[in-house]
Amino acid sequence: MKIFQDLTIKGESAALERFVQEIEASLEENWSRDRGLEEQVKLLDKSPTWCFAFAGRGQEPAAFLWLMYQEANKLYVPNIVPAGSERLSHEQYNGVLQDFYERFVKGAARKTGVHAELGKDSFQLEDALSKASAESLHRFSALANKSTGSSHPRDRTRWEEFLISVHLEGSTLDADTLERWLTEKEEWPADKANQLAIEYEQAMYLLRAYDGRSRKT
């Protein structure tokens, strides 16, 4: 399943400053720096934020790539925002990011000695779940009646096994990712996947609240 890629750059603060200067100096063709947009956020943040405008090419529409500090020695790209009202697909978003990385980031990182890392562009259940929980979800999805969600008693039992397993391991799987996985990989009807995602989120809240209450008593 496709996901939006991350880009992080780690290094000493002086090296990171030089890194950004190198990027700006190397911009060409469809790329430029948009200081006007940067000014808008300067009102709020003392920490510098950079905006690189991509003019668009082929399937990839015009967009603004933002670069900012995540922590003292780490820059990251928090978002690539389309210039228009359309939504960037995962392929478009990652295409713009990869273009920026290949053409400017790699070279600037080499010159300044910072470490740039492009994240994964696809998601596997095992990225967020233990093997046991992933198997539990696979089992539920494969055996469940996809027109009734988790309402059949046997489906409900398998669904609850998955929920409890996820809770016990403190998984990072969020409801939106689960919903996407159910529809895109397992071909669940959109409304049932949505309902399961809501049930998942509510169950996680309930179990955490229960744990909190149990600890107090």
Binding site: F4, L37, Q40, V41, L43, L44, D45, T49, W66, M68, P78, N79, I80, V81, P82, A83, G84, S85, R87, L88, S89, H90, Q92, Y93, A175, N194, A197, I198, E201, Q202, Y205
Partner: protein, 242 residues
């Protein structure tokens, strides 16, 4: 066209509310448009219209028993979209009439079923009445003047991809609306306001499903005591209970 009173700055409106405290209902455009499309949405609460009428009544009392608030952008979005939604509802009602007409033709062949008068819902101009309720709710609202600080905060929210923004999307309008509401609630709480503040939006994909705001919006709303609900009927229940 919804004629509303002159927009007020957040600071000015918070002072007005603090002088006469009552629950605050903060409207998203989707909540207003949902009134017009309430008859075509399969899961729309039947009490949406009743809730809207009750809220208009509460807001029009002196002193108001409810403060209805809308960002300037909500007013603009409503003007831009209400007609299309009204047309959609009209088409839906026309289709229902056609279906009922077909049913009636079939029933005629079974004398034991009797002959009922066939209603014609299209003639009632229901969509126009719904549009009026929607417009009246907006007219009952205090409009927040666009604030530069909120605009900057909204831009930062878009850059960070924080809900209602997300990666790869330009959700600046939604971010502007919510930043105005967060700031208003923050001003109210600073002034000692302890009544309910309820934000209503059916845009669950951007704000969060089941009335649970996405992270970190959940923290932002909690900090200023702003509750998020997905329909007017739910908002009405919270307000009535307060």
């Amino acid at each position: 066209m919804a004629e509303v009173e002159k927009p007020k700055t957040i600071e000015a409106l918070s002072k007005i509310i603090l002088r006469s405290p009552a629950p605050v209902l903060l409207l998203d455009t989707s909540a207003l448009l949902d009134i017009i499309r309430t008859v075509e949405r399969p899961h729309s609460p039947a009490t949406t219209v009743a809730s809207a009428l009750e809220m208009i009544r509460m807001a029009s009392q002196s002193p108001p028993r409810l403060w209805v608030v809308a960002a300037q952008l909500v007013q603009a979005e409503w003007e831009e979209n209400y007609y299309g939604v009204e047309v959609g509802t009209r088409k839906h009602i026309n289709q229902l009439d056609q279906n009922i007409g077909t049913l009636s033709e079939v029933i005629k062949h079974f004398k034991s079923l009797g002959s009922e008068n066939v209603p014609n819902f299209s003639q009632l101009k229901i969509e126009s009445h719904l549009k009026d309720v929607s417009g009246n709710l907006l007219r009952s609202a205090k409009i927040l003047l666009a604030d530069d600080g909120c605009l900057a905060l909204a831009t930062r929210r878009v850059i960070a991809g924080w809900a209602p923004a997300s990666k790869g999307r330009n959700e600046l309008k939604d971010c502007i609306i919510i930043e105005h509401y967060i700031y208003l609630c923050s001003e109210l709480r600073k002034g000692g306001f302890n009544s309910k503040c309820v934000f209503v939006s059916s845009n669950v994909n951007d704000y969060g499903k089941g009335g649970r705001p996405l992270h970190p919006l959940d923290d932002n709303l909690m900090t200023v005591g702003l509750e998020y609900v997905t329909d007017l009927a739910w908002a009405s229940s919270i307000i009535r209970a307060s």
